[in-house]
Subunit: 301 residues, 2 copies
């Protein structure tokens, strides 16, 4: 067994909004507490599901600080800090470190497409060297279907070689299990975290480190069951049922636009329709889709 | 003839960097002055060619203020202000207005892909309604090959209908002349600006309003010749030669990675190799490519 430096079930927590589109910090921190109560090891706030890149740096800092102020421990929080401009990524990451949060999920700069591995290496290196804080632990973020920027194995290998104590893991949200297997084979000890819920069980069985997923907003307990018992043959039925439940939630959320649907489903779970609001350019489900979703949600296992 | 509210040759000005990657404001403002001397009606600073999304909001404000401080008139400046998060776009646009710059080029929020026209309309509407300044003139920015976010004709039509005195033009950088023709046909009086140099002449002949292009950093005089005389049959040979010269520069810049190559070519034109630096994730040309470029640059018309 390899020893990972980042392990467990992390929730790609959604961010509820007030009627004026500002983050509802009270509802958010209550949600984070509930996610931990339900079994998450930590909260990977301010990711794609959390609409991080729709918030200003000021709003992002406020969301992270609200979670800490609500009593969530710094080592239970793993915020996204990667944005398009290097100085902003540096500033967000330094802010996290300044409040004791040492682990971050970091998108590559994502405006320019088709950039070289040299360019991406240079960007990450510039960020890490500018921050120059030995405490920092970076989880790379591979989500090419949204960012437009795939992180290749050669790039990842160069980053691990250059920053072995800093670049310690990756959130792989591309949904391609072969890529995860290649990562595990190439980089022993590097923490591969599933970004796509259906791949949690196969990833854990293959030696992966855990997950950061959207469905955890709804079925954290099932994710925890899979994570804890994936390798125990005596509990295979329980584990398979948990993964099937995860997949059912995932399948329903993906039958509409995913992020607004996750938010609507959190609202259905908690009886608070305020959850359904996303910030533009994402849009809330139509009333018809919301009604349809409610019926199907009630039928989930 | 329709009357456009934004017309002319605008340079998508590149942004030179100091050795520490900070913007070289002195070199930048001298470049802007030269572009105006060479025939540009204005400088569309802080666009894709200007690496705007690689700069922080603070750096962007500093670059715009430096241009004003150098004596460039506010109505000669058209900065890019559209970023991924609505509050940041609002803040950058308000800053421009606060210093007397009323015309901006505005990308849609560009992190999430595959978003709906409703979502993009809502984002632009939220931005314009939050700013709530009658002076504001917005040039939409269609560059799907970089932003990942195409702006469709129905979306543009909705924005013009909702904000007829604000949404007054579009920079179309997709390089598809049929789309420009469709825009001209659908929205009389809406200022269609070519983002791709080779399309300036056909666009002007078809009733377009002008251009915002990268090659203007090198051959602004030729762009101005095309713009001024495109419809004068007695000067067709001169105009065709100017467009051919533009195309030759464009072709050379696009035979390497475009933006670093434009910067390197500005450096060759002005005898200052410091121009060649881009900010990561863009990378300077290799020494071999730079040498190859210098030979070919010297042979350009």
């Amino acid at each position: 067994m390899t020893i990972h430096r980042i392990t467990g079930v992390y929730s790609a927590a959604t961010t509820p909004l007030n009627a004026d589109d500002s983050p509802d910090l009270g509802l958010f921190t209550a949600h984070c507490q509930r996610l931990l109560d339900e079994g998450c090891h930590g909260v990977a706030l301010l990711g794609t599901t959390g609409e991080a890149n729709s918030f200003s740096s000021t709003e992002r800092r406020g969301i992270l600080e609200a979670a800490l102020k609500a009593g969530i421990a710094p080592d239970q929080l793993m915020p996204g800090t990667g944005v398009a401009a290097i100085p902003d990524t540096v500033e967000l990451t330094r802010h996290a470190l300044s409040v004791g949060v040492t682990r971050v999920v970091m998108l590559p700069p994502f405006y320019y497409k088709g950039v070289s591995d040299d360019g991406l290496f240079s960007a990450y290196a510039r960020i890490i060297e500018t921050i120059a804080d030995d405490r920092l632990r970076v989880v790379l973020y591979h989500i090419p279907q949204v960012s437009g920027i795939p992180l290749t194995l050669p790039l990842i290998g160069r980053l691990i070689a250059a920053f072995p104590d800093t670049v310690v893991g990756i959130k792989d949200s591309a949904g391609d299990f072969a890529n995860m297997q290649a990562l595990l084979a190439a980089f022993p000890g590097f923490s591969v975290l599933a970004g796509a819920d259906p791949l949690l069980l196969p990833l854990i069985k293959a030696g992966g480190a855990g997950c950061i997923t959207a469905t955890s907003n709804l079925v954290a307990d099932s994710l925890r069951t899979v994570y804890d018992h994936a390798s125990d043959p005596t509990r295979a039925a329980e584990v398979d049922a948990a993964q099937a439940r995860i997949n059912a939630y995932r399948s329903l959320s993906n039958s509409y636009v995913q992020i607004p649907t996750i938010k609507a489903m959190v609202g259905l779970k908690n009886g608070n329709s305020a959850w359904a609001r996303p910030r533009p350019p994402l849009m809330a489900l139509s009333a018809a889709d919301q009604a349809d979703l409610a019926v199907k949600f009630a039928q989930l296992p």
